[in-house]
């Protein structure tokens, strides 16, 4: 009985377990997922192709524009697809992309676009008005597309009478037509027409991703990397670099280490704590600024009036939070600058309303923020009758029924939230308001928050669309039962203004209305907006130059930068 027998049996253990793992047969390491059917690689220039390597912390959830949710997916869509309009980096002006001219009927109901001639998809098939009409109708037909179908709400009909004209008829005149179209990416009809029924449209993985944009898809390995090649004969912005590679780093420190050691040429995000380090790193340029798609952090007060409580909802909000004085006092007792310094390491600007400073003209910059003043806060609370009757350092309701003890929740996927909660607990404690901090699993928090209203205070946030309409909509009374309204705020005057801004075509008039709505919400202290997070990105100065960093908004992975950047000579 030699020992060879033992080693054989050991290997058997390994093989048996391996073969038994799951019903699937492990494929050999897929060298390349699917070769694009598109034209061959650009004729190899004599010199080495210029490959721009980008490091990011995420990965697209799917390449199907219909079902995609994550920002990473939209970054790729912007590069590979074209849309009718292109949003400029100032956050509110739109320039025509696919169309070279547009005229709108007096009543604003009929939009006629003239499409530029000679545009081709990556597989060589020409892009015509028919593709555009097909795409818009396609998005409208699929209601279960999370984001894109909502942009077609006002479309009554979309037709393409000939190859270069697209006519869109609307159900009502809307002021923000351009912002509706920038996300409606034009899909090749000859590919997508095979996936029109409900399940196919959702299950189509679109790994080949044929578009008409400045870059085309070479190879996609989910959670690993995305490899794009330049579309040198793009009609508008042919890129100067030859190839783009987005590499995913699961942990943030690896991302920073990657740019330090030069393994990548640009990183789209980083932990705030790495900022000081990268400022001094050699041949690395750190840039910070307002992100292209702003994210808002908000402290939500459950101020739902009992009569508005939706059917079978808990509605256990603390009564004191319905009193504006308490919310005002808490606003005075919130040290936004310290929160930014500690939680964000200085990488943010104090916030005022749901409309972020990155939204350009729509942001009401005239509002004067509540100063951090503990004495003022105590004075307001004393005057409003919230005395500390039992001397335990916590104030009671005027009728002494309950102490000002608020449950403070936050979702566990917001990294800076625990530190923010700590600081709120500290400063609010100094004005006699006690909080019970509790981290929550995001889905469990959704179930507790809305439309159940089973909470007091929540630290959460919103991703924002370039147009403020959607965000402001969450404050209207009609949104309370749907779950979009977190605060349960209900103000008829605000609701009327929301309807009015939806139909005002004139931009300056609409701006006035939107500013007024923000002032009302600000005065009622519906929220405390601690900060708007700044984006922090960095690139190697010894690799590529020409990055667009002088605009009000910062996004190095936007086509605006990636199509103009070129290798350092």
């Amino acid at each position: 009985m030699s020992t060879q027998k033992w080693s054989v049996s050991l290997l058997m253990v390994l093989v048996l377990v391996v073969a038994a793992c799951g019903g699937t047969t492990p494929q050999a390491p897929a060298a390349a997922a699917t070769q694009p059917a598109a034209t061959a690689q650009p004729t190899a220039a004599v010199t080495e192709p210029a490959v721009l390597r980008i490091g990011w912390g995420g990965s697209p959830d799917t390449l199907n524009p219909g079902t995609a949710v994550l920002a990473e997916a939209y970054t790729l869509f912007e590069l590979v697809y074209d849309a009718m309009y292109q949003l400029q980096l100032d956050g509110s002006t739109y320039t025509l992309e696919l169309a070279d001219s547009v005229n709108v009927s007096e009543d604003g109901l009929v939009w006629t676009f003239h499409i530029r001639p000679g545009i081709k998809f990556h597989d060589g098939v020409p892009l015509t008005a028919k593709d555009i009409a097909f795409s818009y109708n396609y998005y409208q037909a699929h209601q279960d597309f999370p984001y894109l179908s909502v942009y077609t709400v006002y479309f009554e009909s979309v037709e393409a009478p000939d190859d270069s004209t697209v006519v869109i008829k609307l159900t009502q005149a809307i002021p923000n037509m351009e912002s509706q179209l920038i996300f409606l990416y034009v899909l090749p009809e000859h590919i997508w027409s095979q996936y029109t029924d409900a399940t196919a449209a959702v299950e189509f993985e679109n790994e080949a991703m044929i578009g008409s944009g400045p870059f085309k898809m070479v190879e996609y390995r989910q959670n690993e990397f995305v490899h794009l090649a330049a579309n040198k004969d793009h009609y508008l912005t042919p890129p100067k670099v030859d190839e783009l590679v987005f590499q995913t780093f699961e942990n943030q420190d690896a991302l920073v280490q990657a740019i330090r050691t030069g393994q990548v040429d640009m990183i789209t995000e980083m932990p705030m704590t790495a900022v000081p380090g990268l400022r001094t790193a050699e041949n690395v340029k750190l840039v910070t600024g307002a992100p292209l798609s702003p994210s808002i952090r908000d402290v939500i007060f459950n101020q739902l009036e009992p009569e508005n409580c939706p059917p079978d909802a808990a509605c256990t909000g603390h009564p004191a939070l319905r009193d504006r004085n308490v919310r005002l006092a808490l606003a005075h007792a919130t040290d936004k600058q310290k929160i930014i310094d500690v939680a964000l390491l200085g990488l943010g600007t104090p916030g005022r309303t749901l409309v972020a400073n990155g939204l350009g003209m729509w942001y009401n910059s005239s509002l004067q923020d509540y100063a951090f003043d503990i004495a003022e806060a105590n004075r307001i609370l004393d005057q409003a009758g919230y005395a500390d009757t039992d001397g335990d350092g916590v104030r009671q309701m005027p009728d002494g029924s309950a102490p000002l003890l608020f449950r403070l929740y936050w979702p566990s996927d917001i990294e800076a939230a625990p530190r923010t909660a700590e600081m709120l607990a500290e400063t609010w404690g100094q004005v006699g308001v006690k909080v019970q901090p509790q981290a929550f699993d995001p889905d469990a928090l959704t179930a507790v928050c809305c439309p159940n209203f089973d909470f007091d205070v929540i630290i959460w946030g919103w991703g924002s669309d370039p147009d403020p309409a959607f965000l402001l909509g969450t404050l209207t009374t009609e949104q309370i039962p749907t779950g979009s309204s977190e605060t349960g705020y209900s103000n008829p005057e605000f609701d009327a203004l929301f309807v009015e801004q939806g139909t005002t075509l004139d931009k300056t008039k609409r701006q006035e209305i939107i500013w007024e709505m923000q002032r009302i919400v600000f005065d009622d202290v519906v929220y405390i907006i601690p900060y708007y997070e700044d984006a922090a990105q960095a690139y190697r100065t010894d690799r590529f130059t020409g990055w667009i960093i002088d605009q009000p908004k910062l996004e190095l992975s936007d086509p605006s930068s990636l199509t103009v950047v070129e290798p350092v000579k």
Partner: protein, 343 residues
């Protein structure tokens, strides 16, 4: 022969355990609050109709099981409903067809996503596990033979330390030491988007990426194997037949190889099989730290994104591999130990 009935009994229990896991898996994720439509970023553009349509697509509009509309919040429903309309039976039917449903996050079939990642985990953990088994048991044999000498104490202390170190912490330290000092890659399985002259060059690149995670794996598991092996060999060397072997004038190396090792390997087979079963759980941390696209990383991502169908599929795979590992251990034990084989 007793052995045969003994194995049938074991296989029966293994199947029962797997069934139990399948049922537990299903209900576990129905108790958890959570909604595929809202998975991920909160965005006002998500209308109520879109959420409802998504719920229908994932079949969540159907009752969970007869008499229960939903488990979280607990809502009772009609009991007379045709079972095939309930999520539970659809889940079971799909399971036997080899379908694990669609991921909330990527809408792709869970089976494909697991299939892609399975090979990467095996590629990473396979060699590491073999390395730690060989090194660990070799060291264990040596330490037991030279019991109560410098070698024994040194390897004992070394293994205890290796066993006490949190896996992810060791991974992080090695990652930073390796990448900054030795220029080793920082993460991932191969240089992103690189084109390779030959598959050999590609494998070389993969190996470079595998170096640090494999070292981490080996250190962590080697300690455990060494400790078990040492105590097993100590016991065997104190047996009478070892004295007989020495009395027969055999060389010490032959005594160790022919008489001590086979007897000590018997308990080790169970331990190794059990560890193989838990490979993926162990890999969660190492793959996360090294961004290695394996099943461990898939568990971490699925958890962060609350991607329940994916978690459900992964848990099933984990439990299945543990049950099978146990079964294989029992099988091997009876084959290798004559006392059981011949009844």
């Amino acid at each position: 022969m007793r052995g045969y009935r003994y194995l049938l009994n074991k296989i029966a229990w293994a199947c029962l355990t797997v069934l139990f896991v399948i049922v537990l898996n299903f209900f576990l994720f129905r108790i958890l609050p959570g909604d595929p439509a809202r998975a991920g970023i909160r965005d006002p553009r998500m209308t109520v109709q879109a959420q409802e349509a998504i719920r229908v697509r994932f079949g969540l509009d159907k009752p969970v099981i007869n008499c229960f509309e939903s488990l979280n919040p607990l809502r009772l429903g009609k009991c007379g409903v045709n079972p095939l309309d309930t999520q539970f039976f659809i889940y079971i039917r799909n399971l036997f067809r080899g379908e694990l449903g669609f991921s909330y996050h990527t809408n792709r079939p869970v089976v494909d996503m697991i299939g892609e990642r399975l090979w990467n985990t095996i590629l990473l953990t396979g060699p590491a596990q073999i390395l730690s088994i060989v090194l660990g048991m070799g060291l264990g044999l040596l330490a037991a033979w030279k019991a109560h000498t410098a070698i024994d104490y040194a390897s004992l202390i070394g293994s205890l330390v290796a066993w006490s170190v949190p896996t992810f912490w060791l991974g992080i330290l090695l990652l930073f030491w390796g990448s900054s000092k030795l220029g080793l890659p920082i993460g991932g399985k191969m240089t992103a988007g690189a084109t390779y002259a030959s598959t050999a060059e590609q494998w070389l690149d993969v190996l470079r990426h595998m170096l640090l995670p494999t070292i981490t794996f080996t250190i962590v598991y080697m300690g455990e194997y060494m400790l078990y092996m040492r105590s097993a060999v100590l016991e065997v060397l104190a047996e009478d037949y070892t004295l007989t072997a020495k009395a027969k004038g055999l060389k010490t190396s032959r005594i160790l190889r022919v008489h001590a090792l086979p007897n000590a390997l018997l308990p080790m087979v169970t331990i190794i099989a059990l560890n193989l079963g838990f490979i993926v759980s162990g890999a969660i941390f190492i793959e996360t730290v090294f961004s290695w696209p394996g099943l461990g990383l898939a568990v971490y991502e699925a958890l962060n994104r609350r991607d329940y169908p994916m978690l459900q599929g992964l848990f099933l795979l984990l439990a299945l591999s543990v049950v099978l590992a146990n079964l294989v251990a029992e099988l091997l034990y009876s084959v290798l130990d004559p006392r059981i084989k011949t009844g």
